[in-house]
Amino acid sequence: MSAAPDIIAAVPRASGRTLQRGVLGMVLFVLAWEGVARGFQLPAYTLPAVSDILASIYAKRAILFTAAGFTLTEAVVGYVIGALIGVGLAVIITLVPLTRGVLLPAATAINSVPVVAYSPLILLWFGIGMPSKFVMVALAVSFTVFLSTLAGFDRVDRRSVDLLRSFGAGRLAILWRLRLPTALPLMAAGLRVSTVRSIIVAIVTEMLGAYGGLGWVIYQAVLQIDFVQVWGAIFVASAASLAFFGLIGFAERRIIFWK
């Protein structure tokens, strides 16, 4: 489970031609969608036209943007907590190797249950307000970040460690000067994969119980059989995920310049 497929690696280098084709593909896709929905006059519960969805998003922008802000807050706070826990655990294991035998099996055991299955329990424990979403997102993010960070720390060349040690560097110095820079690319991959997941987990948890947010909006819309609204919320959620993903990717390129 540690090696999440790296989506970015599969994307062809953004040369002018591939970018053109990508945009062309999207435009064709949207046109085909619009054509099918309009041409066959599909009812909204089967497939509403893209233009109708966009119009609905504009009409209900106040509700949707408030909800998106709600969900993004939950996702980002949970993401930060989860990332800190994940990196922290990996640092503890590296500094005190004895803890590896306890922490690693414990984390694996917790992770053997699909993370969304915890949400009923977390909702009972922490209530249906924001804290339960922080916990769920942190839970989902921390494991991925923990594994990728640990893999990064372990990837260090044994001889480099010995060399630094022969200069009298302690564990902490080796961690800071050698292990951390080596681990950063892998850490960043884990952090990047976790962005989309954090928003999805926040939305999933909101659907089971919340005072607001995109998941709540979607659930209400399903109950009211308002499928244009469901699609609108899906579009907004997708845009929010892409923005978060892009932000972390941008930060990664700025920080890890040596990759």
Partner: protein, 273 residues
């Protein structure tokens, strides 16, 4: 990796000399795993009693097992139901993913057209999509399998493509100089080279497919592990939630191990990890 598929596993170093030895090693590892599990449950029980943790938060493991044994029927039914949803979605998603990977590998233009759409499709929160899928397919087993499928196919496509592209061009040129047809090239070189990468995705997808099946059940159903979780939440029956979590862990771990086992059998020349 060079020509590695030609090496028979039994001739490699570190392979047990007989099947009996191999089986014995297996048994020892299994026994050790079981012992660790028992120790964890014992520690859990002791901690709950020691700190007098209210069962509302964390019940004692013995209470959970008692609940499981008292009314095993819904858990067994839920296990089987969720398992079949997961399996159908996983297998169809894996086949579709490998197929798309091969197609994108052969037709670069198609890949550049369609791939961005695939990526955007993966940012859609699956649960929102689930509401639509359940509406399209009705509240059937197929709807849940469709959600599992949707979560499975993308990582498989990505890794198939990456694996196929990692083939050494010199090996390709060599085979071609012997007159290998494109089909032979695929069967004997490209696909075997991609297989380790594909299995990395399959292992990830095995847990994703289970998530898809469980979440899919939240849109209303009567049988399944997701249903049991929801019922436990609405009736505030924490023991039942924990029991379902244990059963889900069993299902998830079992499925993951099955995929990992298939990997060891099929990729016998050893995956690069």
């Amino acid at each position: 990796m060079s020509a590695a598929p030609l090496v028979h596993p039994a001739s490699g170093p570190g392979v047990p000399s007989s099947w009996a030895e191999f089986a014995a090693g297996r048994l020892v590892r299994f026994a050790r795993g079981l012992a660790v599990l028992v120790a964890v449950f014992a520690a859990w029980e002791a901690l709950v009693i020691l700190f007098a943790i209210r069962p509302y938060y964390v019940p004692r493991p013995t209470a959970i097992f008692a609940a499981l044994l008292q009314t095993p029927a819904p858990y067994i039914q839920g296990f089987l139901r969720t398992l079949s949803e997961t399996l159908i979605g996983f297998i169809s998603g894996a086949l579709f993913g490998v197929g798309m990977g091969l197609l994108f590998f052969r037709a670069r233009a198609l890949r550049e057209l369609v791939f961005p759409i695939f990526i955007v499709s993966q940012t859609i929160p699956v649960i929102a999509f689930g509401a639509l899928v359940v509406l399209w397919f009705g509240n059937t087993l197929l709807a849940k399998a469709a959600i599992a499928f949707y979560l499975t196919f993308f990582p498989v496509t990505v890794n198939t493509l990456l694996g196929l592209e990692s083939v050494d061009p010199r090996q390709e040129a060599l085979l071609r100089s012997f007159g290998a047809s494109p089909g032979q090239l695929m069967r004997r070189l490209q696909f075997p080279t991609a297989l380790p990468q594909i299995f990395v995705a399959l292992r990830l997808a095995s847990s994703l497919a289970l998530v898809g099946a469980i979440v899919g059940e939240w849109f209303g159903d009567t049988v399944g592990l997701g249903v049991l979780l929801l019922q436990g939440m609405y009736t505030e029956n924490v023991v039942s939630i924990w029991a379902t979590l244990l059963v889900s862990a069993l299902l998830g771990t079992g499925f993951y191990s099955a995929v990992a086992f298939a990997e060891r059998v099929l990729v016998f020349w050893g995956a690069e990890q």
